[in-house]
Symmetry: C2
Subunit: 450 residues, 2 copies
């Protein structure tokens, strides 16, 4: 098998994890002929994967400068993370770097938002669920002490099934009718669907205007608002049309979670659990110990989970913005999950629900391949059940439905489907097309009708 391992030097103690400068990487070539490098170690984003696209990762122990403003993470007790001053996680992307602000009540601090607004015209893109709750608050934050700024808004219908081109055109219509020029700023106020659509609209309007993410769901706060993946669905597959386009900042007011339905809360936790599984065993263990607090919406626990998730996401995105390898690992369970969302009907299940079932399938397949032991299988099922998330796809899914959607997955390369699978101890995964097809078939048959 051709593969490449990125891992930190063996640490004498786990406390060394909290040193931001410990960026020593060990590159282990199992088959150097099949991997070509174009650049130096400090830019692993330029790793080119071979046809089977295998890249073994155990990056949970790689620390980088991106978290300079929030060091000592693992040693920090959760209660220290939710003071009035926002925590800042930096996404390091050269001249497209930006901060993620995380804190309670920070929508009441206009200066945070206003420092990232370019020009005098703002378009807030939101939906009919979020608008009654937070639109006025955001308009206040944009305009308070700032009379030169004028704010327009466009309110879209709420739900994954509206993440399409017809609804996106409403954003363009509003922007053009309002005569917004290139110096305007779009603001995404809502969950992942709003963030993805507003971001893609910003990427495309007049060939690109600035935008800001204000995520109001756990799903958007821990995952979709960070990293610049924007886009819409096609009837044949999720997120097939879009752009890599980074925001000016991400502003996470954890108070917005007070109005989040339980089902949406759980959906977001699926992505939190994902970070633990693919790269951060300590975080997974913390989640096992704190799932009750998370489900009870303990503010400190939620704030810590959001922050640690953003740090993981920022680190991966900084290393591989355009998903040449490493970043794909953030999609654990998503290939199966997207098939569920597309096959079952957009919006029938929430994204995190589909990802949860998808992660169980990916873990099942990893176990069938002999790559993980059964204790991990059990721990994954247990934590998802405690988060009240599904651990199997809907009854109506068939093997053929899975195969049809998975064939157009963005991780297919030259006809070969690459998957993120767990391998080795907790917190380790691979992104590979080099697996026994039989194991995939067995997993699909075990979880769906023939």
């Amino acid at each position: 098998m051709a593969s490449l391992s990125l891992s930190s030097k063996p640490s004498p103690t786990t406390s060394s994890l909290s040193t931001p400068n410990s960026r020593d990487l060990i590159l282990r070539f199992q088959n150097p002929n099949s991997i070509s490098f174009r650049s130096s170690l400090v830019s692993p984003s330029s790793i080119e994967l071979n046809r089977t696209g295998c890249c073994a990762l155990n990056a949970g122990r790689v620390r980088s400068r991106i978290c300079a403003s929030s060091t000592q993470v693992m040693d920090q007790s959760p209660s220290e993370t939710s003071s009035g001053v926002p925590t800042i996680v930096e996404v390091d992307l050269g001249n497209r770097s930006y901060p993620i602000y995380i804190g309670s009540g920070i929508l009441g601090q206009p200066e945070l938002l206003q420092r990232h607004v370019h020009g005098k015209r703002v378009l807030v893109v939101t939906n009919n669920t979020v608008a009654p709750l937070y639109l006025d608050k955001v308009v206040d934050a944009l305009t308070k002490g700032n009379p030169n700024v004028s704010v327009e808004s466009v309110i879209l219908p709420d739900g994954e099934k509206y993440k399409n081109m017809d609804v996106l055109m409403k954003v363009f219509d509003k922007a053009i009718e309002s005569r917004l020029d290139r110096r305007c700023t779009f603001v995404a106020l809502g969950g992942g669907v709003i963030g993805d659509m507003c971001g893609y609209a910003a990427a495309s309007y007049l060939r690109g205007v600035n935008f800001i993410q204000i995520p109001t769901t756990v799903m958007a706060q821990v995952d979709s608002s960070v990293g610049g993946k924007t886009g819409i669905n096609h009837r044949l597959g999720k997120n097939l049309i879009g752009a890599f386009y980074q925001p000016q900042c991400v502003l996470i007011d954890t108070d917005t979670l007070n109005t989040l339905p339980d089902r949406e809360l759980a959906s977001g936790l699926a992505e939190v659990i994902k970070y633990g599984l693919i790269r951060d065993a300590k975080f997974f263990e913390w989640q096992e110990n704190n799932m009750q607090a998370l489900m009870a919406r303990d503010p400190d626990a939620l704030a810590y989970a959001i922050k640690r998730s953003c740090e993981n996401k920022a680190e991966v995105v900084s290393l591989d913005e355009k998903e040449s390898g490493l970043r794909a690992t953030l999609n654990l369970g998503h290939t199966f999950g997207h098939a569920i969302e597309t096959g079952f009907g957009y919006g029938q299940w929430l994204h995190g629900e589909a990802v949860a079932a998808g992660m169980v399938m990916a873990v099942d397949m990893s176990y069938r391949l002999g790559w993980i032991d059964d204790s991990i299988v059990k721990r994954v099922r247990d934590i998802l059940q405690r988060a009240k998330l599904p651990t199997a796809p809907p009854d109506t899914m068939t093997v053929e439905m899975f195969k049809a959607v998975m064939a157009v997955d963005k991780k297919v390369a030259d006809g070969l489907l690459r998957l993120i699978l767990l391998k080795g101890p907790l917190g380790s995964c691979v992104f590979t097309g080099d697996y026994d097809r039989k194991a995939l078939d067995e997993t699909l048959r075990a979880f769906s009708k023939s």
Copy 2:
């Protein structure tokens, strides 16, 4: 008035123009307070314009490294430009640089095309006029001696009125139904509409795949295929939705012009004339001396006009890819022209026809402002008439129609419409919002109904 001049050192003789290394720039600040620099001289793309956005340019004499492969341009006789070996003009954009190949019969040289195809799957995007003429030839060029490559094609209806989101979706449908993955390559085969749409589809499909431009009209060969501006129209304005997205290469087979209708040929010449007016007086003079040969489709004359236009375009794009200033000058006449295209109905006039009328209006306004003398006004009208291009908008255009469309022009900044106007000797222009509104009103009234 706040303005900045970029010009070469005064040259003792014009022959010094052909030295690619003469990049000595003189920066002349008329009001240094109103212009901020963020970077060094070699990166004028980072010039920030002030609110009135004024930037005086006389860049026809600025030479840069981009033309390293085609030096001695002005001293070269046209007959030397159309040998069997393609001329190569480089567009210098760092790691997004690419070559423009120009030559007769180069679609019959498969290796040129194939060296820029990534992956094994290609989607040719073309229209129902061009497909019967050149699709087979392009498929042959893609597959000859290259049996591993498979080619799909999607044939769109021909015309500016189809440059919209509904038609663009047909490209995505075809790509997804064909299960094209991120390693595929899109190929734009046709004129400016096809190039713009295929480029935007490539920018958005799976968040970005590679693409190649094979322009088959003078308009596309001298202008739209070079520089990475892609997009579609909105019912309220041209090119309002799109992306800056660069191709892997541009392949210009001048033989494709043999099948171009006369009206399309003339339309493309409008952009050729534009380069002369904004930055290349020598080229304008050459056009005055060679318009008869161009209209008679003399291959050497056309090849030289295409090459010199590409050099001008490549130079401007290399200096200011995302149109922070300089690049806007390529839009001389386009603000008026877009108003004609949108107001009169997409496709009623060809793009170059609308630009021709728009240039006459921009020149008229420049003269009213006292910025040019009447000999330039006369020369512009004369050359456009010789190219059988319109020198006034359609009778049905009203002042209000112009104003409505111009209000959503991409060059509006903070409510102020910036225009490209001629100023000084032939080959000099400004991009500015600092002009007497009365002159604009007078021009609109002189050329359209109240």
